[in-house]
Symmetry: C2
C-alpha cells in the first residue's frame, strides 16, 4: 500500500491538529477544517489505511485518530516544514548569548531558561566536554599538611580540581617542582603512554610515590572525565502543563528521569554521530523507560575545537518539532559564533602538541 498525496495531506492534518489541541481528530473534522475536496467517507477510508500502516492509532473505538511514534517519525523526516523564527524569538536568543558571554556555566543556564520560555518544554543542558582529551597544564596547589588540590587544565581549557590526600604533604616549593616535572613528562610522552610518564616521575621523586601515583590517577580521571559532567535544567514545571502528563504517574516518570543524570548524559551521547544537525528522538526511540512518552530534540554546541555540550529539549511526543528545531538551530548558531571569538588565544600552542 503506498501513500498518495492525499494520504500525506491527511496525516499532516492529523499531526498538526493534534500538536495544537491534544485531542483525537476524526474524519468529519478533517473534511470540514482542511479543504481536501473529498468527503469524510473518503477520508475515513484513507485513515483506515494510515492506521493499517501504523502511522496513526485510535485511543479507543469511537474516538478519532492520533499520530503514532511512527507517524511522527515520517512527519519529521519527510514532511515537516522549517519554521522561521519571529523577530522577538531571534532577538531573545541573540541577547541571552551576547549578554552572558564569558561565563560558560552561567551562559548555559541562561540559555536553558530562554529556550524553556520560548518553547514551553523542559530543557537540559550539559556543560562542554571533549571526547579525546589532552592535558594542557597540571599544578599542585597546597591545601593543608596532608592535602593538596591537583588542578588540571584540559585541552579544551576546562579547569578541574581533585583533592589529593597523603600521609604528609610536601611544602609548596616541592609541590611546584613536582608540578613542573609532571608538565614536562606529559609534553615528552603522549598521554597514551602513561607508563613512561609514571616511570619518569617515580624516578625523579621516589620519596613521593603516594603523591605522584595519586596525581597520575587524577590526570587519568580528568581525561576520562565522563563521570561528573555539569548539567542544568530549566522549565521542569512546564511538563505539568501538558494534558498527556495529567496522569500523575506519567509526570512522575519524567521527573525521575531528570534526576538520573548519568542516564540522561549517555542518552544524549548515544549515537556519537556528531554532525551539525539537530537530532530528534520520538517516544520509544530513546531507551529510558521513564521517557517513553516524551520526545527529545537535541543539538550539540561547540566549545573550542573538539569539545562540545548538548542542549536537549524534552516534551510530549506531540511536541512542536518544527519550532523546537528552529529554536535549537538558532541558539547553536549564536553560541558557536560567540564561542569562536572567545577561543582566539590558541595560536601559541599550535607547534607543541600532537
Amino acid at each position: 500500500m503506498d501513500l498518495n498525496d492525499r494520504k500525506f495531506k491527511i496525516l499532516e492534518a492529523i499531526i498538526n491538529d493534534y500538536i495544537q489541541t491534544a485531542e483525537p481528530i476524526g474524519s468529519r473534522t478533517i473534511a470540514k477544517k482542511y479543504d481536501l475536496g473529498v468527503s469524510s467517507a473518503t477520508i475515513r477510508n484513507d485513515m483506515s489505511d494510515l492506521e493499517e500502516l501504523g502511522l496513526i492509532v485510535q485511543p479507543h473505538t469511537s474516538a478519532g485518530r492520533i499520530p503514532s511514534d511512527r507517524g511522527y517519525r515520517l512527519y519529521v523526516d519527510k514532511m515537516m516544514q522549517s519554521r522561521e523564527l519571529t523577530q522577538e524569538e531571534a532577538d531573545l536568543l541573540h541577547d541571552v548569548v551576547e549578554n552572558n558571554v564569558g561565563q560558560i556555566d552561567y551562559l548555559m543556564q541562561q540559555t536553558a531558561k530562554a529556550i524553556a520560555a520560548l518553547t514551553n518544554y523542559t530543557i537540559v543542558v550539559t556543560e562542554p566536554k571533549s571526547p579525546k582529551l589532552n592535558i594542557r597544564h597540571v599544578q599542585l596547589v597546597p591545601i593543608d599538611s596532608v592535602s593538596a588540590a591537583a588542578v588540571i587544565v584540559t585541552e579544551n581549557k576546562a579547569v578541574k580540581n581533585y583533592v589529593i590526600r597523603v600521609q604528609q604533604m610536601p611544602e609548596t616549593d616541592k609541590l611546584n617542582l613536582i608540578s613542573d616535572a609532571m608538565n614536562k613528562a606529559i609534553k615528552s610522552y603522549s598521554l597514551r603512554d602513561m607508563e613512561s610518564i609514571a616511570g619518569t616521575m617515580l624516578q625523579s621523586f621516589p620519596e613521593e610515590k603516594e603523591l605522584v601515583t595519586k596525581l597520575l590517577k587524577a590526570i587519568l580521571t580528568a581525561v576520562r572525565q565522563n563521570d561528573n559532567v555539569q548539567f542544568y535544567t530549566s522549565g521542569v514545571d512546564n511538563i505539568l502543563g501538558f494534558p498527556e502528563f495529567s496522569n500523575v504517574e506519567k509526570a512522575k516518570n519524567v521527573f525521575r528521569a531528570l534526576e538520573k543524570k548519568d542516564m540522561l548524559i549517555t542518552l544524549f551521547d548515544k549515537d556519537g554521530s556528531h554532525d551539525d544537525d539537530v537530532r530528534i528522538m520520538i517516544g520509544g526511540e530513546n531507551n529510558m523507560k521513564e521517557l517513553q512518552d516524551c520526545s527529545i530534540v537535541r543539538a550539540d554546541y561547540h566549545y573550542g575545537n573538539d569539545s562540545y555540550g548538548t542542549i536537549g529539549v524534552i516534551g510530549p511526543t506531540r511536541m512542536n518539532y518544527s519550532q523546537t528545531v528552529s529554536v535549537l538551530n538558532a541558539i547553536i548558531k549564536n553560541l558557536d559564533n560567540v564561542i569562536k571569538t572567545l577561543s582566539k588565544g590558541d595560536n601559541k600552542n599550535e607547534d607543541s602538541g600532537g
Copy 2:
C-alpha cells in the same frame, strides 16, 4: 480561653491523624479511634474552641477539621514527641556517609538521595560555604597565550577557579612568581586590607597591572562567594505523590520554587541563627509565595571550623515533622563526625593565621 489537657490531646489526635491520612477528621472519629473517655459531643465542643483559637480549620461546612499552620506550630513547639530511628534507617544514613566520604559534592548528592528515600519528601542540599572566608593559597595556572586560571583555596578548603583573560599572558615561571608574591602579600596583610595587598603587588609587578588587578578581583569574588553556591536536589517527583499537590497549579509552584536557586538559598540562610538545632518553617512562615503550601525542615552541617551547608526537606505542611527531624539530626551527626576526622590536617597552619 485556655487549653486544658483534653484539648491538647484532641489537637494532637487531629494532627497525627491528618498527617497519616490527609483527610479531615471529625469528632465522632476521634471519639471512636482515640480513647479519651468522653463522648463525641464533648469533643465537638472542644473542637469548636480549638477552631476559635485558630489551631484547626474546617475546609467546608459539614467536613471534619484539619490543622492550621498555627496548629502545626503549637504541635511542633510543645507537643511533638521525638522519634527514634529504626535500625535500618540509622544504618542507611550511616553507610551513605561512610561510603562517600572524601568527595564532598558526591557525598552531598548521595546524602540528599538517602534522605529522600527515607522521608519521601523533596531534599535540597547546598554545598559548604563560609560566612567569613580567608584564603589559604593562590596559584595561577596557565591555560593559553591570553588566559590563565586563578586557583584559590579558601579557608574552608574549597578549591575554586576563575578564568582570567589579559592581552598577553606571561609564561608559567612568571605566573609562579606572581602567585608566590600574592601568597606572601595575603599572609602579611589581612584580607580586610586589600589596598595594601594591591599596592605591594602592583609595585612588584608594574608591568602586569591588568593580570594582578583581575587576580585580586577573583580573590574578592572567592571571598564573597555568595554568588554561585552549588545546590543539589533529590526526590522532586515525591511531591506529586501527595494529594495536596494533585492540583496541578500547586505542584507547579513547588517545581518553580526549586528552579529559583537564589531565593531558596537566601531562604535557607534567612535567620542567620546558626544554633545546632534543626529548624522548621511551616506553610506561610517562609516568604516564597511558591512554597506557601509547604513546610521546610532544615539543618546545617558543618564543614571545617566556620563553614557550613544546609540540608532542607520540603514537604506538605502535613509532613511528618517528628520523623524528619530525627532523620536530619542523625545525618547531621554522621556528617559532622566524618568531616571532623577529615580536617585533622590542620595543625600546621595554626601559627601563621590571624
